[in-house]
C-alpha cells in the first residue's frame, strides 16, 4: 500500500515539475547563449545505411564548417543524430525523441519518403522547423505547411526532367520504362505518367524489376520486343547495373535515361563489368557537377576535411543545400533566435546558396519546395559531361 501511495506522490511531483518547467521556459528549446541544438535523422542501421551516412555526413560537414568559421551569431551548432532505419515506426520514434527528449531547436533530416511522411505530423503539431534531407516524395512538402521545407528536387520534378529529355530525342515516339515498385520510384513516375501522352510519346513497355534483382532477362527482352526509341529506368544503382548489363547483352541500344540515383555513371559502368555499357546512358541529376567535377571542388574539399575516410559519391552532396539554407536562415533570423523567426527567415530565402545543388534556393509564402532545378548528364570517353535539359543538337 505504501508503495502505491509513494508512486502517486512521485507522479504528482513529476507533474508539478513539468508544469513548472513549462511556465519557466519562455525561450524555445535547444537554444542557449552559446549553442543551437539541431536534430538530424536518417537511416543509419541496416541495409539502407548505405545511403544514410553519406547524405547526412554531407550536411554535418557544412554545419562543422560553419562552426569552424565562428558559428551562427556567436552560437555553435550541436547535432543530435538519430537512426530511423527507414521504417515509419522508427522514424516517428526518432523524431519524437529529438523533439521531446533531446529538445532540439529545429530538425534537418530524413532520406526515406515513407518514414518522413509518417512523421510529418510531429513537426506540424510541435511547430518545429523541419528541413527535409533527401526524401523525394512530393506529399511531404505539397500541400505546403508552414514548418516543412525542402531543397531536394521532389520525385515528380526528377521524373519531369527525364521525360522532357526523352521527348527531345530525335524522332522519339515510343518509350519503354523499367522501374521498381516503391515509394521512391512511384514518386518519379507521377509526372511521367501524367505527361507522356501530351509529349507525343507512347509507352510500349512498362516493366517492373524487383529490388535486389540479379537478372533482368525478362525485362530486357520485353523492352526489346517493344522496339522503343528511348528507355527510362527508375532503379537503384545496383539494379541499374544489372539492367544495363543485360540490355547490352541482348542488344538493346537505348538511349537509356536514368534518375538521380545513377548520376555516378562511371561507378555504374564499373558495376556492369563492361566498358561500353553506359555509352548511351544518361542520368537526370539535381547537382551542379559529377563526383570529381571542378565545379564541386569546394564542396568536395569540405566533405573530405570532415570525413577523410569516406568515399565521396554524389550522395555526399545531397544534404548540403539544405544545411547551407538552414545556416543562412539562422544567421538572418538574428541573435534573438526563435523557431518562428527561423521559419520566417527560411520563408524569406531568395536565390540562396544551394552549394552543390543545381539551383538557387527560393522559398516564399506557401512555397516550400525551394530547389526545382536539374539537368541531364552523360558519358564521353572516361568523363561525365553535362548534356543540358534536352538532347544535344550536335549528336
Amino acid at each position: 500500500m505504501t508503495a502505491k501511495r509513494s508512486m502517486k506522490l512521485a507522479g504528482l511531483a513529476v507533474a508539478a515539475g513539468l508544469a513548472w518547467a513549462g511556465a519557466a521556459g519562455a525561450a524555445d528549446p535547444g537554444i542557449t547563449d552559446t549553442t543551437i541544438k539541431l536534430g538530424m535523422f536518417g537511416p543509419l542501421t541496416g541495409a539502407v545505411s548505405i545511403y544514410g551516412y553519406p547524405i547526412n555526413n554531407g550536411a554535418i560537414a557544412i554545419y562543422n564548417e560553419t562552426n569552424a568559421a565562428g558559428g551562427i551569431n556567436g552560437r555553435k551548432i550541436e547535432i543530435v543524430h538519430e537512426d530511423d532505419g527507414c521504417d515509419p515506426a522508427k522514424t516517428r520514434a526518432a523524431v519524437k525523441k529529438l523533439i521531446e527528449q533531446d529538445k532540439v531547436f529545429a530538425i534537418h533530416g530524413g532520406s526515406c519518403s515513407g518514414g518522413v511522411n509518417a512523421a510529418k505530423d510531429e513537426f506540424i503539431s510541435g511547430k518545429v522547423p523541419f528541413m527535409v534531407m533527401a526524401a523525394t516524395l512530393d506529399a511531404i512538402s505539397d500541400p505546403p505547411n508552414r514548418y516543412i521545407f525542402t531543397t531536394t528536387l521532389p520525385g515528380s520534378g526528377d521524373g519531369g526532367i527525364m521525360l522532357n529529355f526523352a521527348k527531345t530525342v530525335p524522332n522519339a515516339k515510343k518509350i519503354a520504362i523499367v522501374r521498381h515498385q516503391d515509394d521512391w520510384a512511384n514518386a518519379k513516375m507521377k509526372n511521367i505518367s501524367a505527361g507522356y501522352a501530351a509529349a507525343g510519346l507512347q509507352i510500349v513497355a512498362d516493366e517492373t524489376l524487383a529490388r535486389n534483382a540479379t537478372d533482368a532477362t525478362a525485362q530486357v527482352l520485353k523492352v526489346k520486343a517493344g522496339n522503343p526509341d528511348v528507355v527510362l529506368f527508375l532503379l537503384y544503382p545496383g539494379e541499374s547495373a544489372v539492367f544495363l548489363r543485360d540490355a547490352e547483352k541482348y542488344g538493346v541500344k537505348g538511349p537509356f535515361v536514368g534518375s538521380n540515383s545513377v548520376m555516378d555513371l562511371l561507378d555504374l559502368r564499373e558495376r556492369t563489368g563492361s566498358k561500353t555499357s553506359v555509352n548511351n546512358a544518361y542520368a537526370s541529376a539535381f547537382l551542379q557537377g559529377y563526383v570529381g567535377d571542378p565545379a564541386l571542388e569546394k564542396w568536395t574539399a569540405i566533405y573530405r576535411k570532415h570525413f577523410p575516410n569516406d568515399k565521396v559519391q554524389s550522395l555526399s552532396f545531397y544534404g548540403m543545400s539544405g544545411a547551407l539554407t538552414m545556416v543562412d536562415a539562422m544567421k538572418r533570423a538574428g541573435k534573438d533566435l526563435t523557431r518562428e523567426k527561423l521559419v520566417d527567415a527560411l520563408e524569406a530565402t531568395k536565390d540562396g546558396e544551394a552549394g552543390p545543388g543545381y539551383c538557387k534556393v527560393t522559398f516564399g509564402k506557401d512555397v516550400r519546395q525551394g530547389c526545382l532545378g536539374g539537368t541531364i548528364w552523360g558519358v564521353k570517353g572516361d568523363q561525365i559531361v553535362n548534356i543540358g535539359p534536352s538532347w544535344p543538337k550536335t549528336n
Binding site: 507522479g11 537512426d83 515509419p88 515513407g114 511522411n117 505530423d121 515498385q181 512511384n186
Partner: protein, 331 residues
C-alpha cells in the same frame, strides 16, 4: 506468505502504476510504451497459435497488416469511427486468418510455415500494387478523430484506449487457455491422433485457434495504426514477423507472462540500442542466439524454473484449489 501477497496485489498495483504512467512520460516515451502494449496484444495472439497449439505459421505480420489496413482505410476513406474500425480490423483478420487452418489440416509443419509465409508475402504485394484501394506505397493516414474529450492526436489519450483493449484481451486469452479449448490446443500440439481419440475435433479447434490468433493480430494491427498515425505496406513484412517471433520465443512459449515480458523487452531493446548504431544488428542477432541457447524455454520458462514466476497451469482456479488443499491438509 509473501508469494500469496504478491499474487493478491500484483494485478491491482500493476494497473494503478500503469494508469499513472502518462504523468511521468514525455510523448516519445509514451509512444514507445504504446507500442509495447500493442506488441503485448500481438504476442498473446501469436503465442496461442505458435506456443499453445504448436502451429508453425508465418502469417502473423500479414494478419497485423490486414487489421491495420482495414481499420485505417475504413477511417481514412469512409470516415468510420475507430470504435467500429478497430474491431472491424480484428474481425477482418480473423476471417482471413481462419483460412490458414485449411492448409494446416493436412500439412507437415515446414510446409505450413512456407505456405503461410508465401500467403503473407502475397498479401503485402497486394497492399503495394492494389493502389486503387490501398493507396500503394504512399500509405494511409489515420484521421485525428475526437470523441468527447478524447482525441486520437494525443499519445496519452491513445494510451488509455489501448491499455483497456490489452487488459480485456489479456483476460480473455487467459480464460481461453485455462478452458477446455486451451487444453485441446495443447493436446493437438502434443499428438494430433491421440487428441482425436480423446474426442477433440482437430478441424474445429485448429480453425478456431487460427481465427482467434489472427483476431489478436488484427486488433493489434489496428491499434498499431492508431499509435503510428500513418501506415505503409513495408511495415508488415518479414522483418515485422521476425520481431513477433523473437518476442514470443524470447519471452517464453506457452506462457502468458512470456508474451508480456517478450513484448516489453524486444520493443524497448532497439530504442536502448540506439546509441550503438553500427553494432545494433550484430548485438541484436547475437543476443537472440545467446538468449535462446541458454534459455530455450524463454525468459518466462527460466523464471518459472527458478521460482521467480508462478507456474501457469491450464486449469482455471487451479491455484485456489492448491491453496485450499494445502490448508485442509495442514489443519
Amino acid at each position: 506468505m509473501t508469494r500469496d501477497l504478491i499474487h493478491r496485489w500484483f494485478a491491482p498495483v500493476a494497473i494503478a502504476i500503469l494508469l499513472l504512467v502518462p504523468l511521468t512520460t514525455n510523448s516519445y516515451i509514451q509512444f514507445i510504451i504504446n507500442q509495447v502494449i500493442v506488441y503485448v496484444i500481438i504476442a498473446i495472439g501469436l503465442n496461442l497459435l505458435l506456443g499453445y497449439a504448436g502451429q508453425f505459421a508465418f502469417a502473423h505480420a500479414a494478419m497485423m497488416g490486414i487489421g491495420a489496413y482495414t481499420a485505417a482505410l475504413l477511417m481514412h476513406r469512409l470516415g468510420v469511427t475507430f470504435w467500429i474500425a478497430v474491431p472491424a480490423g480484428g474481425f477482418a483478420a480473423a476471417a482471413i486468418g481462419s483460412l490458414g487452418a485449411l492448409p494446416a489440416m493436412r500439412m507437415k509443419r515446414v510446409y505450413l510455415a512456407l505456405m503461410t509465409l508465401a500467403i503473407a508475402e502475397l498479401i503485402q504485394w497486394v497492399l503495394v500494387h492494389w493502389k486503387v484501394v490501398t493507396l500503394g506505397t504512399d500509405g494511409v493516414k489515420i484521421p485525428h478523430e475526437k470523441f468527447l474529450w478524447f482525441t486520437l492526436a494525443s499519445d496519452y489519450h491513445k494510451f488509455y484506449l489501448i491499455l483497456a483493449a490489452m487488459a480485456v484481451l489479456y483476460v480473455v486469452a487467459r480464460r481461453l487457455v485455462e478452458s477446455k479449448f486451451g487444453r485441446s490446443l495443447v493436446a493437438i500440439r502434443e499428438n494430433e491422433i491421440v487428441a482425436q481419440c480423446n474426442g477433440i475435433s482437430i478441424a474445429h479447434t485448429k480453425a478456431a485457434v487460427f481465427a482467434v490468433s489472427a483476431f489478436y493480430a488484427g486488433i493489434g494491427g489496428a491499434l498499431f495504426a492508431l499509435v503510428l498515425g500513418h501506415i505503409v505496406p513495408d511495415g508488415f513484412g518479414l522483418f515485422q514477423l521476425v520481431v513477433h517471433f523473437s518476442i514470443v520465443v524470447i519471452g517464453g512459449l506457452i506462457s502468458m507472462f512470456g508474451s508480456v515480458i517478450g513484448a516489453v523487452l524486444l520493443t524497448t531493446l532497439p530504442e536502448l540500442l540506439r546509441g550503438v548504431r553500427a553494432l545494433q544488428e550484430l548485438i541484436y542477432g547475437v543476443l537472440l542466439m545467446v538468449f535462446i541457447i541458454f534459455m530455450p524455454g524463454g525468459i518466462a520458462g527460466f523464471a518459472k524454473q527458478r521460482g521467480w514466476l508462478p507456474d501457469e497451469i491450464l486449469v482455471r482456479g487451479w491455484r485456489a484449489l492448491q491453496a485450499r488443499l494445502k490448508r485442509e491438509g495442514g489443519s
